[in-house]
């Protein structure tokens, strides 16, 4: 039988049972819609996280104490990166591609103003670097300079929430606050910004790192050092130079492990992509199971349909249809049905994820973008057609096996 007529016959049969056909494919529709949503939202999340991370720029390398990238507590309590290391790294002959180095100190300490207390996170870091990195401006005052850092100036820039809490509506710039009984002069206030890259800017106090070490922590350790290479291509080389320099400064012999770790942005991006992929794959596996359930539903309905249409099958065979003709007819019905389910599922899934993206971007995740998963859609149609083929074979074969006269006698 010509292929065109196989399809037409199948369509005719499906059309004569419209509501049954619709109910049959519901499982597939929902399954594929779920795949599309998971993929779309997964890609959206990935794009957003990457957008935030790569705010650092691909030429930036992060150096942290402790040899494990994943053991965060070890990183926190390791005290292996000191002023001496920074000085060594700053030397041109050690790390020739270094253009900027920003050592960070992070600690928690109370800030006092006229008896009122606030417990913010205190970050010691170059002001300009941080302002650029997180893309934050000031609502009043100005940033401190590299000279302030060299001179261990007792100046502070505070987040908007701290300002409101301690100063209310009056000006904060020019006032003195006390941290660990040392007086610091407020020289700037950050604009409202909320969470950026894991820091709540509104509850942050930014102070020159040298001043934090001298007056607050009393140590010369750093929690994190950001180092910028002269170009993204040189980031790997820079990381290597940093490693060699630090191993030398720390006097590590060749069999000792690093007591620090270095992450390039490329590695971070890869890590995030891996996490998102694992997560998405897991969800898709769950959804795939629902497609199998949908497939079993289709098989069930098709078996009913085959037994209902015993007479038609017998007649077609009596008129000269071969086993193959009958098999093709029922398989086409199954595949058309599930593929249609797939297409409807894609449309529904895409619409829902578009809506979700819209809501997300206007509420919790500014900058969330809608991504239509092209690959996922092709996969969705392919998988649903496959489900039709797989779960249609058994009923179609049952139909093809029928003997014509048994079928014609059937009442």
């Amino acid at each position: 039988m010509p292929f065109k007529h196989v399809l037409l016959t199948a369509l005719q049969a499906l059309e004569s049972h419209k509501s049954r056909s619709a109910l049959t494919i519901l499982g597939i529709v929902i399954g594929v819609a779920a795949i599309i949503m998971v993929m779309s939202l997964g890609k959206g999340a990935e794009a957003m996280i990457l957008g935030e991370v790569s705010g650092l720029g691909p030429e930036t390398v992060i150096l942290r104490p402790g040899n494990s990238l994943t053991d965060f507590t070890q990183t926190l309590y390791s005290q292996t990166i000191t002023k001496k290391d920074i000085e060594a790294l700053k030397r041109k002959q050690n790390v020739p591609n270094l253009v900027e180095i920003a050592p960070l100190v992070i600690t928690y300490e109370s800030v006092e103003y006229q008896g009122d207390l606030y417990r913010p996170s205190i970050m010691g870091a170059p002001a300009e670097f941080i302002a650029n990195l997180f893309d934050i401006g000031l609502s009043e005052g100005h940033l401190y300079t590299d000279d302030d850092i060299d001179q261990e100036a007792r100046v502070a820039i505070i987040g908007s929430e701290i300002k409101n809490d301690l100063f209310g509506s009056s000006r904060a710039v020019g006032k003195q606050v006390k941290i660990k009984d040392k007086k610091f002069k407020v020289i700037g206030v950050f604009e409202d910004k909320g969470n950026v890259g894991g820091f709540n800017i509104d509850t942050l106090v930014l102070i020159p790192q040298t001043s934090v070490q001298t007056y607050i922590t009393g140590t010369d350790y750093f929690a994190e050092v950001m180092i910028r290479a002269d170009s993204p291509e040189n980031a790997e080389k820079l990381a290597y130079d940093v490693e060699v320099t630090l191993r030398d400064v720390h006097d590590l012999s060749f069999h000792e492990e690093n007591d620090f770790n270095i992450t390039t942005q490329e590695e971070t991006i890869e890590m995030i992509q891996t996490i998102v992929t694992i997560f998405t794959s897991f969800l898709i596996t769950v959804v795939a199971i629902s497609l199998v359930v949908g497939g079993v539903g289709i098989m069930n309905i098709m078996l009913v349909s085959v037994s209902e249409r015993t007479k038609e099958i017998g007649l077609r065979k009596a008129l000269g249809a071969t086993r193959q003709d009958i098999l093709n007819q029922f398989l086409s019905e199954a595949i058309i049905l599930t593929s249609l389910g797939g297409v409807i599922g894609i449309i529904i899934g895409a619409s829902f994820s578009f809506l979700a993206a819209l809501i997300l971007s206007q509420t919790v995740a500014e900058g969330w973008e809608y991504i239509f998963p092209v690959g996922g859609s092709l996969l969705g149609v392919g998988v649903s057609a496959g489900v039709g083929l797989l779960f249609g074979i058994y009923p179609a074969n049952q139909a093809a096996k029928k003997s014509p006269i048994e079928a014609l006698r059937y009442e």
């Binding site: 039988m1 010509p2 007529h5 016959t9 005719q12 004569s16 007479k311 038609e312 007649l315 077609r316 065979k317 009596a318 008129l319 000269g320 249809a321 071969t322 086993r323 193959q324 003709d325 003997s403 014509p404 006269i405 014609l408």
Partner: protein
């Protein structure tokens, strides 16, 4: 040449642990171009015999040759092809697909024939005209009267230009007048176009439209004789 050759043909149905012996040794041969009626009481095995002759059912023992070739020497696809190309069936209960139009029903055998699609339409129109239903061609068949339905079934049986037409009580569900139209058509197909026709009926009146009458009782041929006073459906009709 003998189109059908049957010797010592037996058919036993087994089902639910019960064996039903339906055909108990049938012998006859039928030449190309004959018009034969098969008669007998209900349950005597007429339909079973016709279904075996029509490649719709296999026999239990004995031999059946169609066109000189043993039934069991055909592959499944060849069996389908013989049914499609060389045989046409007309059933008592019409067996049309009710949601398809007259045209589509008649077209069905062509779809399985392997003939080029370009020939289909002309062929369908031709046989639909032959049974006088051109004006009903686009009707869904469930809307037709019984007589019209049976004429659609005849057109469908003819569409591939088969040699043989099997008709199992084609007038059984029709009133006398519609039955006469069907019988007239069958006679015409035999007389004008030389089709071989095997007709089952339990009415002597209807059987007498054939040239040869085989009488079956209890799964055996009881008599097999020429009909010397063949009825002419056209004349019956005028009465």
């Amino acid at each position: 040449m003998n189109l059908f050759e049957v010797s010592n043909l037996e058919k036993t149905f087994t089902g639910g642990g019960v064996e039903t012996k339906v055909l108990r040794g049938i012998d006859f041969s039928i030449e190309e171009g004959e018009f034969v009626s098969i008669m007998g009481p209900s349950g005597s095995g007429k339909s079973t015999l016709l279904n075996i002759l029509g490649f719709l059912l296999d026999h239990s023992s004995g031999e059946y040759k169609f066109n000189g070739r043993r039934y069991e020497d055909h592959t499944e696809d060849e069996i389908a092809q013989v049914r499609n190309r060389e045989m046409g069936f007309v059933f008592q209960t019409f067996n049309l697909l009710p949601r398809l139009s007259v045209f589509e029903n008649v077209q069905l055998p062509l779809m399985y024939s392997g003939r080029p699609e370009s020939e289909w339409k002309d062929r369908v129109d031709e046989v639909v005209e032959m049974v006088g239903l051109t004006h009903r061609s686009d009707f869904d068949t469930y809307k037709l009267s019984g007589g019209e339905k049976q004429r659609v079934a005849i057109a469908r049986a003819l569409v591939n230009g088969p040699n043989v037409i099997f008709a199992d009580e084609p007038t059984g569900n029709l009133d006398t007048k519609s039955g006469q139209v069907v019988m007239q058509t069958l006679q015409e197909l035999h007389d004008k176009f030389g089709h071989t026709i095997l007709l089952i009926t339990h009415e002597t009146f209807t059987a007498e439209h054939a040239d040869r009458m085989i009488y079956i009782v209890d799964g055996k041929v009881e008599s097999d004789k020429k009909n010397l006073n063949r009825r002419d459906a056209k004349l019956d009709f005028r009465k």
